[in-house]
Symmetry: C2
Amino acid sequence: MSSNRHKIPIPTVDIIIEQNSRILMVRRKNEPYKGCLALPGGFVNEGERIEDAATREANEETSLNIGLVEILGVYSDPTRDPRGHLMSTVFVGIISSDNVTEHMQASAGDDAAEIECIYLDALDNSNIAFDHKKILFDYKIWKLSGGTFWSSKNISNTEAV
Amino acid sequence: MSSNRHKIPIPTVDIIIEQNSRILMVRRKNEPYKGCLALPGGFVNEGERIEDAATREANEETSLNIGLVEILGVYSDPTRDPRGHLMSTVFVGIISSDNVTEHMQASAGDDAAEIECIYLDALDNSNIAFDHKKILFDYKIWKLSGGTFWSSKNISNTEAV
């Protein structure tokens, strides 16, 4: 079976990296959601394990080497990205060998213009790209009680926030 | 971005359904792994949320309506399926409204020939398709201590079993 025979959801990864109560976010320099904050992430290549895509994308967009802690969830609502049906596996990561400063230039091009570290609660009032506000809401729940998440899980709770 | 522009991993789902200490497995009637036991599962369609693919595939292969409990993990080693780079999101499900008998004919065609309910420990000595033996090993860990899993996580432990 070839990926070119059928249209299929496109696998991506996003990574939540928290340090000192702040989340590493990327201010997007390109459409869609130009100027908005997004989690570091990107596309998974054929032949690449998704965990390797997560560490590679985190490094490309933030210059950091990270370790993976857990999978927060898999988000695959077909309307979550205007470019097509992109499904994201979201990892919770930790910084393994680098230091992060408050404002750090991203090392690589991609869609990352600038890294910003933002307090989790302050993100509620920020312009957040894609469904990353729901993802960060789910991350707050995860910090309290664990669990895994997907697009249609706890929607009513999310909408109430 | 179109899924046809690049070769990408192909998203699939598999579902672990345990009842009375036994796991619902499908004896495959087609290659690859013809005659081996596999978890119920299949491909995710474009435009379909992965959680909906999981409940649909479980129903197509076992006739059961299931609910989803958690995501066990995302398995994406490019060698895990001889047909190509298939990445599977594995859900833990529960039977929501049907009864399961020890031997039940699958209702739909697909790759399912017959449903068998097998004690988790007995699966160690069965012919298991794909990387589903590792997945079921991870499921045992999950039952003890939770967590989420991926292809390269705890490989040394898995190989020791």
